[in-house]
């Protein structure tokens, strides 16, 4: 087994009296495609929030590449190699697709603070943003403002912003939700073409997607890990079927 790139140990989080994350631990070796499933409200998105630092954990620790991220705010975690797409589109609505991608590129290259040179002059950056748009199937929408895009197209950009970051660990929160079948298969193709070294943790309600993509799957229920195993083991588990798959199908 290759080196562990990401590790979460004993994460806990409560909102008031509601325990949303309960002693969750997770180890991901480099290059792992890992699925995260569970019923609505199981705490999947919250687990992502804890990993990226958007929500502060009550207890537990998160490591990326052996370094503890615990005190780091979300932006520092992103620079350390975490990237995430959101369950609800979370974009820069007044900017164009090209500008959205260029922003992400500028931050990846660490030139966001440059104030003495016009952004327009960074031609390589715009080029890179354009290439990414092509890869994402957004080439036709380059100059369009995000707020004018169809939902599915926005969704593609949502994933695209995270991909541009070229992270160590990519977290995707229901990436294909609300997409048309063609858009979904486009994204799946894109995900399967990602570099081998990339580690992926993906939340998905579409079981065909998750069983097709993930090497291993963690099932969350009421904030706890119900099971972790191969897609076959998950599919075969009576408990998972009772708690989740039965309900979903």
């Amino acid at each position: 087994m290759s080196e562990v790139v990401f590790r979460a140990e004993g994460l806990r989080k409560s909102f008031g009296s509601l325990r949303v994350t309960d002693e969750v631990s997770l180890r991901l070796p480099a290059g792992r495609r890992h699925g995260l499933i569970g019923p609505n409200g199981a705490g999947k998105t919250t687990l992502f929030d804890l990993i990226t630092g958007e929500v502060e954990a009550d207890a537990g620790e998160v490591f990326l590449g052996g370094r503890s991220l615990n005190r780091a705010p979300p932006d520092a975690r992103a620079r350390a190699g975490l990237a995430r797409s959101f369950q609800r589109n979370n974009l820069f609505p007044g900017l164009t697709v090209h500008e959205n991608l260029a922003l992400a590129c500028a931050l990846k290259h660490g030139i966001g603070h440059v104030f003495w040179r016009r952004l327009e002059r960074f031609t390589a950056l715009w080029q890179e943003a354009e290439e990414n748009a092509g890869r994402l199937g957004l080439a036709d929408h380059l100059g369009q403002r995000v707020s004018t895009l169809a939902y599915g197209t926005q969704r593609q950009l949502e994933i695209g912003l995270a991909l541009v970051q070229e992270p160590l660990l990519l977290l995707l929160d229901e990436p294909t939700a609300g997409m048309s079948p063609e858009e979904t298969s486009g994204i799946l193709e894109l995900l399967s073409s990602l570099p081998e070294s990339l580690t992926l943790l993906i939340i998905e309600h579409d079981m065909d997607v998750i069983f097709g993509l993930a090497e291993r799957i963690t099932v969350l229920d009421y904030g706890r890990v119900l099971l972790e195993g191969t897609p076959g083991e998950v599919r075969g588990s009576d408990e998972v079927r009772r708690r989740y798959l039965g309900a979903a199908h």
Binding site: T52, D75, A83, P93, E99, L107, H113, W116, L119, G143
Partner: protein
């Protein structure tokens, strides 16, 4: 980026032409107004960087203007510094204080940010109100203007001074426009739109906001120094929140986030105030000259109308109009 904000430079050019024409045409009083507009434009543009570009609505911006004005007054009158050195000092003091305030303020968002900036601005006001050395609530006079006699220019001449102010305002505009169009400026725009997502892409949002707040404060300090030179007088009213509010109105009236709109807004604001408060203007419209005493009411109605009819300000409406005309023209060209 190609087509972003296509009317910015044409509008700036137009304003520059109007300013030059006004300068040639203006008499003594007109030159005073021009200088006032130029200084107010600098102040408004510095606020636009915070409000319109980065989305930080400050109601205490006049505090930094007052700091700049008092720093210039103190350095020239008490220490005998030349006005140019005092101006640099003003910019540094206001910028440093803005950084100090920003350290706390940028942690807050939305209405909390408005409240803390309001409170801190009022603290500056209270301080200057009590400051005996600066004349307390009476203020203090005697701030000299730049000495340009080596160049053969007499800054006591309103035409010379107003020209100088217009040049400085133009320089501030160009500098801010370059900033806004840099990667850093793009980050500020993105912070305005969605700061959480920007942070999740790796941007240290607070640090960027702090930098913008400090820079905005420094430029407000510059405007304050020039204002002290212009009137030769400083008073606590410079820090009062209503002046921050006026600048905010100017930014919104002109078109928030458009820079040149803030400058244009300053011109509209000063001209309106000047006309509406002048009895003969109303008599010229065959109305009672007494209305002039209620000019603030009329101005208020005007702003309400602007906010209702043009939420994106004069600049926003103009952009929209140009866009409309262009696409209609293009449509016709394509159809033919």
């Amino acid at each position: 980026m190609r087509e972003r904000d296509p009317i910015q430079l044409p509008v700036a050019g137009l304003l520059a032409v109007i300013a030059v024409a006004a300068w040639f045409g203006a008499g003594y009083f007109g030159q005073e107004l021009l200088a006032e507009i130029a200084i107010l434009a600098i102040f408004a543009m510095s606020l636009d960087l915070l409000v319109g570009v980065a989305g930080m609505v400050s109601l205490g911006h006049a505090g930094f203007l007052a700091l700049g004005a008092y720093a210039t007054a103190g350095a020239t009158v008490f220490w005998g510094w030349p006005p140019a050195a005092a101006l640099a000092f003003s910019v540094a003091v206001a910028g440093a204080c803005a950084l100090g305030v920003g350290l706390f303020a940028v942690r807050l968002g939305g209405v909390f940010f408005i409240m803390i900036t309001l409170a801190i601005g009022q603290m500056f006001y209270a301080y200057f109100f009590k400051a005996r050395a600066f004349g307390g609530d009476n203020g203090m006079s005697g701030t000299p203007r730049f000495d340009l006699s080596p160049l053969g220019l007499e800054t006591g001449d309103p035409a010379v001074f107003s020209a100088l102010m217009l040049v400085i305002a133009g320089a501030v505009y160009v500098a801010l426009l370059l900033l806004v169009r840099s990667p850093f400026g793009m980050m500020l725009t993105a912070i305005h739109q969605n700061e959480n997502r920007l942070a999740s892409l790796g941007c240290p949002v607070r640090r960027y906001k702090l930098a913008a707040f400090g820079l905005g404060g420094a430029i407000a300090g510059l405007a304050g120094a020039l204002m002290a030179q212009h009137t030769g007088f400083v008073s606590p009213d410079l820090a009062f929140w209503t002046l921050s509010g006026e600048a905010l109105i100017i930014v919104i009236l002109g078109g928030s986030g458009s820079l040149v709109g803030a400058a244009g807004g300053a011109a509209v604001f000063v001209m309106l105030r000047d006309h509406l408060s002048d009895g003969s203007f109303w008599e010229g419209l065959r109305l009672s000259g007494d209305i002039a005493t209620h000019w603030q009411l009329v101005m208020g109605l005007f702003f309400i109308a602007v906010v209702l009819l043009a939420r994106d300000g004069l600049y926003g409406r103009l952009s929209w109009l140009v866009d409309r005309v262009r696409s209609a023209w293009r449509g016709r060209g394509g159809g033919a």
